[in-house]
C-alpha cells in the first residue's frame, strides 16, 4: 500500500501526494437562534485565525456553541452576522474542501466500509471508478482497517466505526477536517490508540483540523492550540499554545500539567459567570 504513494502511476499517486490545507479565518461571527419566540445569542463576535495545517482544539462546557461554530465552518448553517473564509474565500455552503466528522459515526449502514469511504470520492470529478477504489483503499489502510474493507458497518466496534468515519472524511482530500467530539463515546484504551493514529495521519496528510471536545486532556494531547470557550453567550475566552513534542501520549505528566492550567482557567471563567458545574 505504501508503494502506492511512492510509485508514480498516474492520477492516483498524484491524488494521494497532494496534501492541500487551508487557512481559516472567522471574522466577527455571531449566531443567534430563536427559541419560543425569544432570541438568544449562541455565538458572540467570534474572531479566529487558524493557520494552514494547524491542529486546533475547541474546549468548553456543554451548550457553549462549539458544534454550532463547526456547523458554520462546514457551511451546514450560516452565521447571523460575520463571515468565515477558507483561503480567503467566504463560506456559503458545504464544500468538498471541508469535511465533517460527527460524534455519532453517521456511517451509512446500507454500504460496506469501502462503499462508505467511496461515497464522497464518487462525487469528486477527475477520477474514474477504479482510481477512486484505489484511493479509498489507501485511506482504509491508513486508518488500519484493510482487513475490514468489505465488512458491514454493524459488524464493527465503536472505535472501528470512527476509524471508517475518519477514512471517509479524509478520502475526498479536504483542506480542512472538522471533528465534533468524534471519540466521545469510546473507551479510554480505544481512544488512546486513536489519538496516536490521528496525530500520525495529521502529520502525513497535513490537514487543517478543528477538533471539538469536552475533554481538556484530549485537547492538549492533540492540539497545537487549545481554545477555551465559555457559554452565555459563547465566546472564545483564552487561546493556549501547546508546545509539547509530538507524538504526544495522553498519559504524559507534562501534558497533565498543561491540562490542569487550562482546567483552572475554565473553572475561573465559569465561576465568574456564576455557572456551577
Amino acid at each position: 500500500m505504501q508503494s502506492l504513494l511512492n510509485s508514480s502511476h498516474g492520477k492516483v499517486a498524484a491524488e494521494l501526494r497532494s496534501v492541500p490545507s487551508s487557512k481559516l479565518v472567522i471574522d466577527k461571527v455571531s449566531k443567534t437562534f430563536t427559541r419560543n419566540g425569544k432570541e438568544f445569542t449562541v455565538l458572540d463576535d467570534i474572531n479566529l485565525h487558524i493557520e494552514e495545517g494547524e491542529f486546533v482544539c475547541l474546549v468548553g462546557p456543554s451548550g457553549c456553541g462549539k458544534s454550532t461554530l463547526l456547523n458554520l465552518i462546514a457551511g451546514l448553517d450560516s452565521p447571523t452576522s460575520g463571515t468565515i473564509y477558507t483561503n480567503g474565500n467566504p463560506v456559503y455552503a458545504p464544500g468538498r474542501d471541508r469535511m465533517m466528522m460527527f460524534q455519532e459515526h453517521a456511517l451509512f449502514p446500507w454500504l460496506d466500509v469501502l462503499g462508505n469511504v467511496m461515497f464522497g470520492l464518487k462525487l469528486k470529478p477527475n477520477l474514474n471508478d477504479a482510481e477512486r477504489r484505489e484511493v479509498a483503499k489507501y485511506y482504509i489502510y491508513l486508518v488500519g482497517l484493510e482487513r475490514f474493507t468489505h465488512s458491514a458497518i454493524h459488524e464493527l466496534s465503536g472505535g472501528m466505526r470512527q476509524r471508517v468515519a475518519l477514512a471517509r472524511s479524509l478520502a475526498p482530500n479536504p483542506n480542512v477536517l472538522l471533528m465534533d467530539e468524534p471519540f466521545g463515546a469510546l473507551d479510554a484504551l480505544t481512544r488512546e490508540n486513536l489519538y496516536r493514529d490521528l496525530q500520525k495521519i495529521w502529520q502525513q496528510r497535513k490537514k487543517t483540523i478543528v477538533f471539538v471536545t469536552h475533554n481538556i486532556r484530549e485537547a492538549v494531547c492533540l492540539g497545537d492550540r487549545v481554545l477555551l470557550f465559555s457559554p452565555n453567550p459563547g465566546k472564545i475566552r483564552e487561546d493556549f499554545k501547546i508546545d509539547l513534542p509530538r507524538l504526544r501520549d495522553i498519559n504524559n505528566p507534562n501534558l497533565s500539567e498543561v491540562s490542569s492550567v487550562i482546567t483552572a482557567a475554565l473553572k475561573q471563567h465559569l465561576d465568574a459567570k456564576g455557572v456551577a458545574e
Partner: protein, 260 residues
C-alpha cells in the same frame, strides 16, 4: 451444511406427523363430505395439475396479483415520498391512507364491480387498494424517520438534491419500505382471494384459485376445497421466500439484527 440437513429432516418429520394426525381425524370423523382424507386431497391436486386446471388457475391469480401489486408499488412509493416531503399531502392523502389501510380491502370488491364490471380489472383494482396504502405509509414513515445526520453527512461530502434522494434518503428508508412491501403483499393476497370468491363466480373466463374454491363448493367436493386452500398457503409461503427473503437477508446482513 449438516445442520440444515437435520433441520429439513426434522421439519419433514413434523409434517408427516401432522398428516398422520389428519389421517387419524379422518377415520374418527368418518364423513367424506366434511373431512377428506389426505390421500384424496393429494389425488385432487395431482389430477388438477395433470389436467392443467390448477396451473391455469394459479396463473390467472398470480397475474392479477402481480399487476395490482406492481401498480401499488408504482403509486405507493412516489406518493409516500410526496407525503413525507409536503405537509399538505401528508395531512390529506396521508390521513386518507391511514384510514383506508384499516379498511379490509375486500370491501373494494363491491364498488370495483360497479365501476369495472365482473372482470379482471375489478380484481386488479382490489389488489391495488390492498397494497397501495401500506406502501405509501411505510415509504412516508421511512423517509420521515431517517436520521438527519445521514443527510448532513452526505451534504458535507457534496451530495445534494436528487443525488441525496437516490443515494441517501431512499436507501435509508429501505428497511421501512420493505416492511410495507411485505405487509402490502399480505393484505393484497388476502383480499384478492376474497375478491375472487365474490367476483370470479360469474366470470368463467377469469380462472383463478378463488374460482376453483367456488367450484369445489358447487361440486360439494371438500377435497378440492382443501386442496386449493393448501395451494393458496403454499403460494403465500413461496412468495415470501422468493420475493421477500432475499431483501430481508440483505437487510440483516447490512443493517444488522436491529433492522426493522
Amino acid at each position: 451444511m449438516k445442520k440444515t440437513l437435520i433441520r429439513i429432516l426434522l421439519s419433514a418429520l413434523g409434517f408427516c406427523a401432522i398428516i398422520a394426525l389428519w389421517q387419524l381425524a379422518f377415520h374418527l370423523v368418518d364423513n367424506r363430505t366434511k373431512l377428506p382424507s389426505p390421500f384424496s386431497v393429494f389425488e385432487y391436486i395431482k389430477e388438477s395439475i395433470l389436467s392443467g386446471v390448477l396451473l391455469s388457475a394459479i396463473k390467472g391469480t398470480l397475474m392479477r396479483m402481480f399487476s395490482g401489486y406492481a401498480m401499488g408499488l408504482l403509486f405507493g412509493i412516489p406518493l409516500g415520498v410526496l407525503c413525507a416531503r409536503i405537509r399538505i399531502f401528508r395531512d390529506t392523502l396521508g390521513m386518507l391512507a391511514l384510514g383506508l389501510q384499516a379498511l379490509p380491502s375486500v370491501c373494494w370488491a363491491i364498488p370495483a364491480i360497479l365501476w369495472f364490471g365482473t372482470n379482471n380489472s375489478a380484481m386488479i383494482f382490489v389488489v391495488l387498494m390492498g397494497s397501495v396504502w401500506s406502501l405509501l405509509l411505510s415509504t412516508q414513515h421511512g423517509v420521515m424517520n431517517i436520521s438527519p445526520i445521514y443527510i448532513r453527512a452526505a451534504r458535507t461530502m457534496g451530495s445534494k438534491g436528487l443525488h441525496t434522494w437516490i443515494y441517501v434518503i431512499m436507501p435509508a428508508a429501505f428497511p421501512s419500505i420493505v416492511g410495507g412491501m411485505k405487509q402490502g403483499w399480505a393484505f393484497a393476497w388476502r383480499s384478492l382471494m376474497a375478491a375472487e370468491i365474490v367476483v370470479a363466480l360469474p366470470v368463467s373466463k377469469a380462472n383463478g384459485l378463488g374460482l376453483q374454491l367456488n367450484y369445489g363448493n358447487d361440486n360439494n367436493d371438500i377435497a378440492q376445497v382443501i386442496g386449493i386452500m393448501i395451494v393458496i398457503v403454499a403460494i403465500g409461503l413461496l412468495v415470501d421466500k422468493i420475493l421477500f427473503s432475499p431483501w430481508e437477508k440483505m437487510l440483516r446482513k447490512r443493517w444488522g439484527l436491529d433492522a426493522k
